[in-house]
Symmetry: C2
Subunit: 224 residues, 2 copies
DNA sequence: ACAAAAGTGTTGCATATACACCCATGG
DNA sequence: CCATGGGTGTATATGCAACACTTTTGT
């Protein structure tokens, strides 16, 4: 490879995460408003450019922290987007991730030099997005739905403990279709990925639900 | 993104394919010998650098043709490899593909400015490889084995027609384990991805096997 | 007739689905 | 005692794994 060939120059790497949550029974994604050109004032997914001395995973962690103040989020890489004209300034290969988080953990959405604002948007009410982020978001949703029963991709959606009805409602919101409650419960418990804490929620007016937590053990049968 | 930030500069994209075949019952991968530094005289996977005006898919097609003379091969993207030091000259993100082909179609393995030689290597007799291609190859094998029953990733392994025993032997070679012949046959036929041509092979000394071809119809139940 | 490989069916087991009633709580 | 939502069990269907014998051909 001849480094001076102009066809090899001016290439960069974008890292992006479709960061999802479920809030009030609504499936939502975190979007950030751009402050500068290109795509000034357009909403986009969380992310940015990868430095040449870091892995894409590290870049994504850094970008997530810089743009939202969030740390220790689990992402799952799922695809790349390589259309040469997907970014106007120069060729930027997009490396796309999916993440899921408890929206209550997102207290501060920092204003940075590059972002004006950040907010959760319902999946069926997405505004016009900058870059090719609409397409990436659609593929992210598809990926999340495909993986939701084969991985513990939702493990950061809740506080330490949660009830099975909460988990059930999250699945229904994300998949946007009904699931049999009894079969869901059986399936989840058979995976051995959640364990009974012995505690109960204290809501009023109804039977208290058991509190579960995600298991740290690796004795589950689920495919990660 | 400030284009002049040195941390954004000197980045490139490698596209790579682990191109597999089954020859004489042996699971093999195509390797190419490098002519120049870095990794002069080391064997590596087929691939090269992506131009800034092409998708990675297009780059991979171009590289495959330039290095091996092969066209119309189906690849399946499976992962990226982003360690910043994986290539010595500068940061090169690797975009990795898996492909499977009939080794008899590979007649001419062209000598190019960058390759001295090319050959099929048995999976259990892989020489030392340049770059991080050993790791990429291992992950490719893992991916192929995981996908082999959920996709028609093998559809280019054979000439237009093939027998079920041939297909069975390919699966056994690639997975490196025994499969029940009867169940394999039932599974393959139930997918509706292959169809009976009405023809028979003409071997001697044994019962002739039916010739099948991969179906062009989309009425199969297999997940692609 | 024999060697060599192709072709074929059934049973049991595990998993997924469909479905309806009782229970515990707070008000 | 009632309204609300939590929790449970069974019967059926489907998919997968285990397993052995018969058929066709060329020699």
């Amino acid at each position: 490879m001849n480094k001076d060939n102009p066809l090899y120059k001016n290439q960069g790497i974008h890292v992006l995460t479709s960061l999802f949550t479920v809030e009030d029974g609504k499936f939502k994604v975190l979007l950030i408003k751009r402050k500068n050109e290109p795509f000034k004032d357009k909403w986009i997914l969380v992310g940015g450019a990868c430095y040449n001395n870091e892995t894409t995973d590290d870049a994504m962690k850094r970008e997530m922290f810089e743009k939202t103040g969030l740390k220790n989020i689990n992402f799952e890489f799922f695809n790349i987007f390589s259309r040469p004209d997907r970014s106007p300034l120069m060729r930027m290969l997009a490396v796309a991730y999916v993440g899921v988080i408890d929206c209550k953990k997102v207290k501060i959405l920092r204003e940075t030099t590059k972002t004006k604002d950040a907010d959760w948007f319902q999946i069926d009410r997405i505004p016009e997005l900058g870059y090719d982020h609409k397409e990436i978001l659609e593929k992210s949703i598809e990926y999340l739905r495909k993986r939701i029963f084969d991985s513990i991709i939702l493990k950061n959606l809740f506080p330490k403990t949660f009830t099975l009805p909460q988990l059930y409602n999250a699945y229904v919101s994300i998949l946007n279709k009904n699931i049999d409650r009894r079969n869901f419960r059986k399936k989840m418990l058979s995976y051995n990925i959640i364990e009974d804490t012995g505690l109960y929620e204290s809501e009023s007016g109804k039977k208290p639900a058991k509190l579960y937590s995600f298991s740290t053990e690796d004795n589950h049968k689920i495919i990660l």
